[in-house]
Amino acid sequence: MIEEKRLMKGNEAIGEAAIRAGCDAYFGYPITPQNELTAYMASGMLDQGRVFIQAESEVAAMSMVYGAAAAGGRAMTSSSSPGVSLKQEGISYACGADIPCVVVNVARAGPGLGGISPAQGDYFQATRGGGHGDYYHIVLAPKSVQEAADLTYEAFALAEKWRMPVMILADGLIGQMMEGVSLPPPLPSRERPSRPWAAGAGRPGASNHLTSLFIDPPDLEAKVMARFERYEEIARERASFEAVNVDKAELIFVAYGTASRVCLGAVQAAKEMGLELGLLRPISLWPFPKDELARLAGKGKRFLAVEMSMGQMVDDVRLAVNGTVGARVAAVDFYGRTGGIIPSEEEVLAEAKRLMGWK
């Protein structure tokens, strides 16, 4: 049965999708521009007799998530950039103890307190293992309210499948804007995987110890190496993207989230002028869809990375393209605005035309 569309804010749609995915426990702390999400979870979770706590800090909220997930619950937290910096402690521990959970970053401009307008300056933090240590985790970047709901719903299952935190990296625009959304159906609890590894699972056989401490270097190295083998599998299975007009176009925008909407508008505007531009939109930022970029580079395509930052994802584009047989030298250009400014269609189109030498 297809449910009728609802008009919702991105923050609310993320909350509703999490509840429908069977989120057992939510822990958060107020921060703009994700406050609607915390409020939505407060009423949504408490009304259903599930766990909601407004924590004393982001640091504590993340450790509550860690505890609830270690005890077998589907647990989640959300915040915005400065708060996500604080959560990095717990994210590192969750990665080190293989504890699945969902972390939402409705990002704003930085550094420091920065501003409350949408930005994409948290790309490095999100995709490079933003805390201490040798790790990565899945990062998914929605472009719309619908996709924010869909990716949040999927995030819980991905987290459990791969035993790691999954981050939804949205931004203030995705969180604040309203769009029509068809929500996924509530997940029956019987369809959720069992968690015999959890604390309090009833000691099937031996005690369960959830820890990131492996004091003997060979033990820790083996643990980390096994995790990196898993990362390879995830890259093969879950790297995802959307491609628009990439075959006809010589110049392809590479952009995610809000910036990709701007680029899509520029692709459409160019079409009306009889000009062919393409868009490659990474949906998973980690794993990054590097194979598709390499394939396109091998066909001699040029790329214009567009970000709401001074250029972070563009490094991954260059890494994907560099060394590809058939790729042009200096095939990757960058255009970005920062400080909470969203680039306009006109300015990204003008940059594309300039690079292509079009009048």
């Binding site: 057992d24 004393e56 504590a60 309090g200 009833g202 959830l210």
Partner: protein
């Protein structure tokens, strides 16, 4: 022949890494005895902190969750909320609880989280090698207080009395302070721990037992001297007893009658 005294079922029969004269091993045993007496081994979860007792998961024969330094009460909050029927034991040292984790313990206590905190106060950082703790006594030497804790000139502050501080919060229902320097105090501490565990299983609210515990290595004393120093120097600064007992139900008194007083 009936076995009157043996190794607790909930304690793995191995030698600990703890130093001679350290209080952790004694408190571990008291916890394990209480868990066994309550028949709770299969539903107990120990939250082991960062500090010497990070090894707790090696010694307790039940599930464990290890969390970041000081976040032990936040992690325990998550665990207990997901597993309300489990006996969740939040084991913390003085650095973990009263320095880096001050916010977490205050708010977990204030929310009335229904786990039990076992707070080991040895007035020093053990694992990192003898730095000043929030509970270090005035004048007590530490690697980071080489001339002794000096609240005035060096501005090092005063020892924090955690039990007294937390007892002002409405969410706390049972707060006691014991010590493991003498056999009598060990028995009394066991009684406090068991009372707190029973209260937790009844779901009454936040419960905590602080234990004054010797650290001969970092105090640079023999085990005997260290035990004597608990009595002579620590107890006057951290008075023993039930600091707050709001366990109104009759079983609280009946438990008390069961132990040595």
């Amino acid at each position: 022949m009936e076995v009157a005294y043996g190794h607790p079922k909930s304690l793995v029969p191995i030698q600990t890494k703890y130093c001679p004269g350290c209080g952790h091993g004694v408190v571990h045993r008291l916890i394990a005895e209480a868990v066994d007496e309550l028949g709770a081994q299969d539903r107990s979860i120990i939250m082991n902190p960062v500090g010497c007792s990070i090894w707790a998961d090696l010694y307790f024969d039940f599930d464990s969750v290890q969390v970041p330094h000081g976040r032990t009460p936040a992690g325990a909050t998550g665990v207990k909320r997901m597993r309300p029927d489990c006996l969740v034991i939040c084991y913390q040292g003085d650095g973990d609880l009263a320095a880096i984790g001050t916010a977490e313990i205050v708010h977990a206590a204030n929310r009335g989280e229904k786990f039990t905190t076992i707070f080991i106060n040895n007035a020093i950082y053990g694992m990192t090698g003898g730095q000043m703790a929030p509970t270090t006594l005035v004048g007590q030497k530490a690697t980071t207080a080489p001339h002794g804790r000096d609240p005035d000139v060096a501005g090092m502050g005063y020892p924090i009395r955690v039990c007294e501080m937390l007892s002002t919060l409405a969410g706390t229902k049972y707060i006691a302070r014991g010590a493991v320097d003498t056999a009598a105090n060990v028995r009394k501490t066991k009684q406090y721990i068991k009372r707190a565990f029973e209260a937790q299983l009844r779901g009454v609210g936040f419960t905590m037992v602080e234990v004054l515990s010797p650290c001969p290595t970092n105090w640079q004393m023999s085990p005997t001297e260290a035990a004597a120093w608990v009595a002579s120097d620590m107890v006057p600064a951290f008075p023993l007893g039930e600091i707050k007992n709001e366990l109104s139900s009759p079983s609280a008194t009946s438990t008390a009658a069961g132990g040595a007083t």
